[in-house]
Every structure is written in C-alpha cells, then in structure tokens.
Subunit: 249 residues, 2 copies
Amino acid sequence: MLKAERQQIILNEVRRHNRVLLPDMADLVNVSVDTVRRDITELHRKKKLRKVHGGAISLGFHNYNFQGVEIYSKNEKSIIGEKAITLLRDGQVILLTGGTTNMEMARLLPTNLKLTCFTPSLPVATQLLTKPNVEIIFIGGRVSKDSQITVGGSAIHMLSEFSVDLCFLGTHSIDLSYGLSEFDWEIVQLKKSMIKASRKIVAPVISEKLNTIQRYKICDIEEIDTLITELDPENTLLDMYRNKRFNIL
Amino acid sequence: MLKAERQQIILNEVRRHNRVLLPDMADLVNVSVDTVRRDITELHRKKKLRKVHGGAISLGFHNYNFQGVEIYSKNEKSIIGEKAITLLRDGQVILLTGGTTNMEMARLLPTNLKLTCFTPSLPVATQLLTKPNVEIIFIGGRVSKDSQITVGGSAIHMLSEFSVDLCFLGTHSIDLSYGLSEFDWEIVQLKKSMIKASRKIVAPVISEKLNTIQRYKICDIEEIDTLITELDPENTLLDMYRNKRFNIL
DNA sequence: AAAATAATTGCAAAAAATTGCAAATAATAC
DNA sequence: GTATTATTTGCAATTTTTTGCAATTATTTT
C-alpha cells in the first residue's frame, strides 16, 4: 500500500469518526504503530488533523476527554447519518437535499462506496468532493444564501430531466396529519420537484422536528418511504408514526 | 506504443482504481519503471494525477477542503483581483470561471457592490456567499473533482440560456499566436460556451502563464477584451501583447 | 509511587527516486 | 532519399525515503 493512500485512509477515518486510536489504524492499514505514528505526525504538521496522545482527532472537533471511556457522544445527526448510510448500495443514484443532517451523512459516507449523488447544496457538494468514488452532479440555479442551496426555475427544470433511486429529503417540520413542511416557499417548490424525481423518499429528521408544522407544505406524510430519527425505532415518541406505510429507522 | 497512448492508459487506471503502483503500470504498458515514472512525473506536472512515492493517486482521492486550499503566489493573485474589480459596476451580470485567481477576486469583492454572478465553481460560489449584494447563479452539471467546477453537457446547455456583460476567464496558458489554452478537454468545452455567453471577455493571468501553451485551445487571443496581469501595464514583458485590440491592465 | 502505555530516538534493511549516460527511435532538415 | 537533430527509453550507480525494531524516555493510569 502506498504511503499517501494510507494517510488518506487514516484521514478519512478521522473525518468519519472524529477520533481514531493509533493501534486501530495500524491494524486497519496493516503497518506497525510506528509507521502510523509517523503518518499522523506528518498529517499533523500539514494541519490535516490533530495528533494527540494515543491517536488523532479531527480539526475543529473539541474533545475534552479523549482518554476517558466516554470519548465522544455521537450527536443526533451522526446517528441519523449512520442509519441513512445503511440504505445505500454500490451503484445507486441518489439525491441529497441541503441541511446539516444531509451534510453529516455526506461526511460519513464510506470512502469505498460507489454512488452518483445529485445535490443542489453547496456544502454537501463540497463535502462530497472528498469521496473518490462518488460522482457529483450539481443542480444549477440561483443560490439561496440562507440555505446555501440552489432554487428557482432553473433548478426545478434540471430536476425534471432525471430520476433517481433514493432521495434524502431534509425538512424543517414533519407532522402526522399535515405532512412535511417548510417556511421558505422557494425551497418547498424545489423539494416538490425532488420528490417527483425520486423513486423512494427518505426523510431524515431530528426528533424535535416531529409534530411541528411550517407555513408551506411539501407533501403528505404518505409520500415518504422511510423515516429516520436519532431515536430507537421502538421509542414511544414514534408510536403515532407507526402503522403507516413507511418504515421507521 | 505511443507515449501519449501509454499515458492515457495510466491515467485511466488511476481514474478507475484511484491509485496505481508503479511496477504494476510498468507491467501493464510494457516499459521500464523508469519510463512510467517519467510519465507519471509529466502527468503530475499537468495536474492530471498526483505523483506519490511508489506510484500515483487520483486527484479526487486527495482531500480538498477549499477553505484551506493554499493559494500560491497569493500576492500576484490579489493584485490581479484588485485590478479586475475596477472593471465592475453596480448592477452588472458577470460570469466567473474557477481557478484561484477568480477565487481571490471573489474574496476581494466590495461588500456593497451589487452584482449577479454566474459561476460553475464550487469554491467561487462558496466564497460569494459572504457577499450580501451578490446574487449567485450556479451553473449545474457534473462536478469535476480535479478543478471543482461543473462540466459536461448539462453545464454547457445552461450556459446557452443566458448572456452576461463580462466574463472573467481564468486560463492555464496564454500565447500571442496560439491564443488561450488548457490541458483538460472538458474544461475547454465549458470555457468555449462561456465565451459565447459573454459580451466581453477579461483574461486574468499570472505573468508566468504568458507565452505558454497547452494541448487544447480555448480561443484566439483576439477574442479577449482585457488582459490583466500582476505586472505594471508598462512592463516590457507585455510589449509583445500591445498593439492588439485588447486593453492591458 | 509503581505499572502500563505511548512517544522518541537511533539504526539498518528494503524500496524507490534521482542522475548521468548511451542506445534506440522519431522528427526534421537537407 | 539521406543526414542531422531531438526525443525517448532503459540501465547502472548513487542518494533518498520508507519502514520496522529495539532501547530509552515520557506520559498516563492505578
């Protein structure tokens, strides 16, 4: 294995998990701990990660108790991202909307997963640049500064010209009877087009968004195929969402 | 076997597998490792791949995080950026290609300047997000990981649907008789479309790119309206570019 | 404080890169 | 057509880089 390749793998692990232990990395890339140590030292010098006693942590990730058992409690979005990734298979064509949940999912994508990703989100596309096996198709249009995604006729038109296997539809609010909703009219229009362009809809939502509504409706709750939250699927908070036609993850 | 053919095979292998080992390539194309090494060195210079100890890896495999992309010769680019900005007026509609020079220009844009910017570049668009008075229209399409801009038919089609006042056309090489040129075929196609979509063309180039040529031609030098370098317009290096129909800044 | 774990240093073997050079091949001029 | 020139290619000697190991030192945990 090439040194550069090895360092890239280590870096991806750090990006993915926010922290890595030195022996784990040595095991993963099949070299001695000394070599990994040197790699991490080098990456540290290049400011790609932060070298700490026992391993490395990702930059910008503040870890107050690295050595302790409770090293890092995954946040809600990471949990959702990990669950979402289980739905993916090599060769799929997917659509990712904007939002931090989808960004977290993009960040967590395994390096070896082969995908074609359509997205109107600048941050998501940028995040995906680091995935060598992901082909990125950016949906053009006017960029909405607030959400950093493209909206408007041009984007909607482009969406009418393809269809994908799976859409990960980030949303601001979800309610059993009112459905999915959003407070920005233009984004709602865009998301409606995304739904049309997708065979299956996955809705990754943080549980705090459950049972809330916004001014503009995107679609009925029946239109989604999978609901992903950070909660255990058996959690009572999700009771009312059971017995619907969609899966809960 | 022709050298160019051989290099193409190597490049395809890199694209396909994200990484190649030097001896494997030597075996594949039936030449000595020395020759492959030279090929890879050459391709590295042309930024088609990244040469590493023991082989090569694809540019896509390398992690870009473009907040941290170090803009080399930043000073020259800042000078060019400042000059370019003097051409701008409130209300104009402009087109910005990718490249570090245009990124620097985007960074330097005055906060109060009202513009509409079309761009196919993820880093440029991201940079422009910080400018409250700039409306951004992103040109959609497949994202080329190497250059972080969208390319391909979709992007070219979108470019055929509008026209702008001014295009800041970053380019890899400029030569008095050969014109503007680039080493990536797809990017050349995109830039040709950009030229068609623009009333006036501005070519911001670092002086070290003067009098160099690349494999694929973008356009004749007569097609540009303004040439911007970091040099004083009276500098003797620019003598041969005078008496042309374009301005020198 | 002692034990365990990790980091550093020096070192040597293996792998790879570089350099100079000559033969082979292709391109150009005559 | 031939001669000349430039480029490409492979080879050998040298230098550099990479890597694992062992001994020592530093840090953390019990």
